[in-house]
């Protein structure tokens, strides 16, 4: 080691820790894929019907909705915030979509999605404004709007329900249709995740999200408009939840006042399991989407191996707690290595 030239000697000690960090970074997405393969493999051995076309389509469709929501939540969490209101936004948007069809059965599809988007954007603006202008922690704000939006939804819907029979087939088809065996929903989610993944890498604004979550004060010093970026993150999250509401309705076919209840926890679990740091600053949309797929697959596997699906919530919670604890343990393991490196200099 001592024979190498001065320059190299300085670079050398970092290689191992760098490789380690890289592995941990890649490891997450690979790890999820691995876990997916394991779950699918084990379950299929137990019951070969698990890999039947219908079941795969079902798992994919259900996970797609969570994956969509996970895109928005990922952006918000990357900025060191949290959006608990997405389940409620999805619910009210789904109900509004249903009502739109009830009253105007021939409304064009584009307009329907525009309405869903608009509702989501509206909710996102409210969240974003309160968080950034009033400087209130996003946890409290979105816990409040979670119930406020749900309450408005409930007041509007009352005990009413919109059924698939009241919806045009062109709309319902989004939920059940397939291309070459792949459900439309899966395609929608894959396209959305691909676009989001690309955008999160390719635009200054998106990189600002990471910088803000990584170190908000340094971001301010570097001249990044922190407030308006965080605001944008909430608007995006709301917008996605709004659109996801219409998608949700097309898949489930009927909507009442409790649509999407509790989705926020599943989504946060998926996002964190997918490797998005709860402290902000790092993580990928792709990881979060894979997390959603893993969660959905395990839920379905539970049913197939005859464990009650009622355990699925416990599973989501357990994975969420496990994932943040796991991330922390790795960080703690890395810290002494960094400290010893500093000593080497002294």
């Amino acid at each position: 080691m001592t024979v190498v030239a001065g320059e190299q000697k300085i670079v050398r000690p970092h290689v191992s820790s760098r490789a380690f960090a890289e592995v941990m970074f890649r490891f997450r997405e690979l790890g999820i894929v691995l876990a997916l393969v394991l779950v699918v493999g084990a379950t299929t051995i137990d019951n070969h019907l698990f890999l039947s076309a219908t079941n795969v389509q079902q798992v994919l469709s259900a996970a797609s909705i969570i994956a969509l929501l996970a895109i928005g939540e990922t952006i918000v969490i990357i900025t060191r915030n949290v959006d608990l209101s997405i389940g409620s936004v999805l619910g009210i948007s789904a109900y509004a979509t249903g009502q739109l069809y009830v009253h105007h059965p021939h409304v064009p599809l584009g307009l329907v999605f525009l309405l869903a988007l608009g509702i989501g954007v509206g909710c996102g603006i409210v969240n974003g404004l309160i968080v950034t202008v009033a400087r209130v922690p996003s946890l409290v704000v979105t816990l409040g709007t979670l119930y406020i939006i749900r309450g408005i939804d409930g007041a509007w819907a009352g005990g009413n329900q919109v059924n698939a029979s009241m919806l045009p087939d062109s709309f319902n088809k989004i939920g059940y249709g397939t291309i070459a065996g792949v459900p439309y929903l899966g395609i929608i989610a894959i396209v959305a995740v691909a676009i989001a993944t690309y955008a999160m890498r390719s635009f200054r604004t998106a990189r600002d999200f990471y910088a803000i979550g990584s170190d908000p004060d340094a971001a301010r010093v570097a001249g990044i408009p922190v407030g308006s970026r965080v605001f944008l993150a909430f608007v995006l999250s709301g917008a996605i939840a709004g659109v996801a509401g219409a998608v949700w309705l097309s898949y489930y076919g009927s909507v009442d006042a409790i649509a999407g209840d509790g989705y926020e926890f599943q989504v946060i679990a998926a996002v964190v399991v997918g490797g998005v740091a709860i402290f902000g600053g790092s993580g990928s949309v792709l990881g979060a989407a894979l997390g959603a797929l893993l969660l959905g697959t395990i839920n379905s596997a539970l049913v197939v191996v005859n464990v009650s699906s009622f355990w699925s919530q416990a599973l989501a919670g357990g994975l969420l707690v496990g994932a943040i604890a796991f991330d922390r343990l790795i960080a703690v393991r890395v810290a002494p290595a960094l400290r010893t490196r500093r000593r080497a200099r002294v």
Partner: protein
């Protein structure tokens, strides 16, 4: 930023302002709360002529008993600058646990005690993850909120368990003999007195405030920050478990979804009670008044035939308002500062233009 040793510290007044900030400059928060309470009662009395009669007051307090007990524990946690969102799930899981033990042949009293012990254990898990592993309490308790509720659902998915000894079960719904006070609220009041004394008049309470107001300075003054936080989470779990027992007795049955969404109400009580979400500020008295406000508000809204779902809108608005309003002064100052600096810039630009 580097600091080269002796260097006079720039002391910007803005960071010194929290004590002065908000409307607290003009009115004490508790006074506002009393006004709000008066308004709520007036509203209730206007909606229903029976609002202020003793039976109704009994039901108001009965409805709010469990939440109120949990709110006390959460108050201490929020004062240290942390949060516990898993309380309602602990309530649910403890109730289910107690009922399961009972149906498996345990006598009721040991089953109740074990439910409380379970609550303490669940709280200890939160405390361990927050203090020993250094995880943010928000993320931890969102996780355990889902986890604990999920376990309750896994154990007792669809049915309810009832059939508790009627004598015991009735303490959930009858007042203490010769009074109109439910057992739960009597317990709450007793506990509130104890908590009030501990928080406001003992070294431990002072330490809790110091942790919230300046964690590092508290640690440098020999306060055992981690230990105190850990035990507060255990306390929160214990009282949530106890509230689960009370809840189960009140409804004479256990369900996995007992108290779903109650964390909203508890957090609202604490923050409306004037406890700062950033820690270090607030009083037990404020929380007691907030409990009274929310209790009577719910009953009044129900009397006004507003469904429970819609009442959440009101609660949610109260929650958001109670964190925005204390920031009001700060907001005003920031807006003014921004205007001023814009003006200064204009002047500077004008001067420069003149100079050239």
């Amino acid at each position: 930023m580097s600091d080269l040793g002796f260097q006079p510290h720039d002391e910007p007044p803005a960071t010194e302002a929290p004590g002065r900030s908000g409307i607290g400059l003009f009115v004490r928060w508790e006074v506002l709360l009393l006004v709000l309470l008066g308004g709520t009662i007036a509203y209730g009395a206007a909606v229903s002529p029976y609002f202020l009669n003793s039976t109704n007051l009994f039901y108001i307090s009965l409805n709010v008993g469990e939440v109120a007990i949990i709110a006390l524990a959460l108050t201490l946690i929020v004062v240290t600058g942390e949060i516990d969102l898993s309380v309602a799930s602990i309530l649910g899981l403890s109730g289910v646990f107690m009922a399961e033990l009972f149906t498996h042949g345990w006598p009721i009293w040991p089953a109740m005690i074990m439910a409380v012990v379970l609550g303490a254990f669940l709280g200890a898990i939160n405390g361990f993850l927050v203090t020993r592993m250094g995880l943010p309490s928000l993320a931890v308790t969102i996780g355990t909120l889902t986890l604990y509720r999920g376990i309750a659902q896994g154990i007792l998915p669809t049915d309810t368990i009832g059939g508790f000894p009627t004598g015991l079960a009735s303490i959930g719904v009858v007042p203490i003999p010769h009074t109109h006070i439910p057992y739960s609220i009597a317990f709450f009041l007793a506990l509130a007195v104890v908590f009030g004394i501990v928080l406001h008049a003992t070294p431990l309470g002072r330490a809790i405030f110091a942790i919230g107001a300046g964690q590092e300075a508290a640690f440098f003054a020999g306060i055992r920050v981690k230990r105190i936080k850990f035990w507060l989470f255990v306390l929160s779990g214990t009282l949530s478990g106890f509230a689960g027992v009370l809840w189960t007795l009140r409804f004479a049955s256990a369900r996995y979804d007992a108290g779903v969404g109650m964390e909203l109400l508890v957090v609202t009580m604490v923050l409306l009670g004037g406890i700062s979400i950033f820690g270090g500020r607030g009083t037990i008295a404020g929380v007691i008044v907030a409990v009274a406000i929310l209790g009577s508000l719910q009953t009044a809204l129900t009397a006004d035939l507003i469904p429970a779902q819609d009442q959440n809108i009101v609660v949610g608005v109260l929650l958001v308002a109670s964190v925005i309003i204390p920031n009001g002064g700060e907001l005003y100052r920031r807006a003014r500062a921004r205007l001023r600096s814009a003006e200064a810039r204009r002047h500077a630009a004008a001067a420069k233009a003149e100079g050239q």
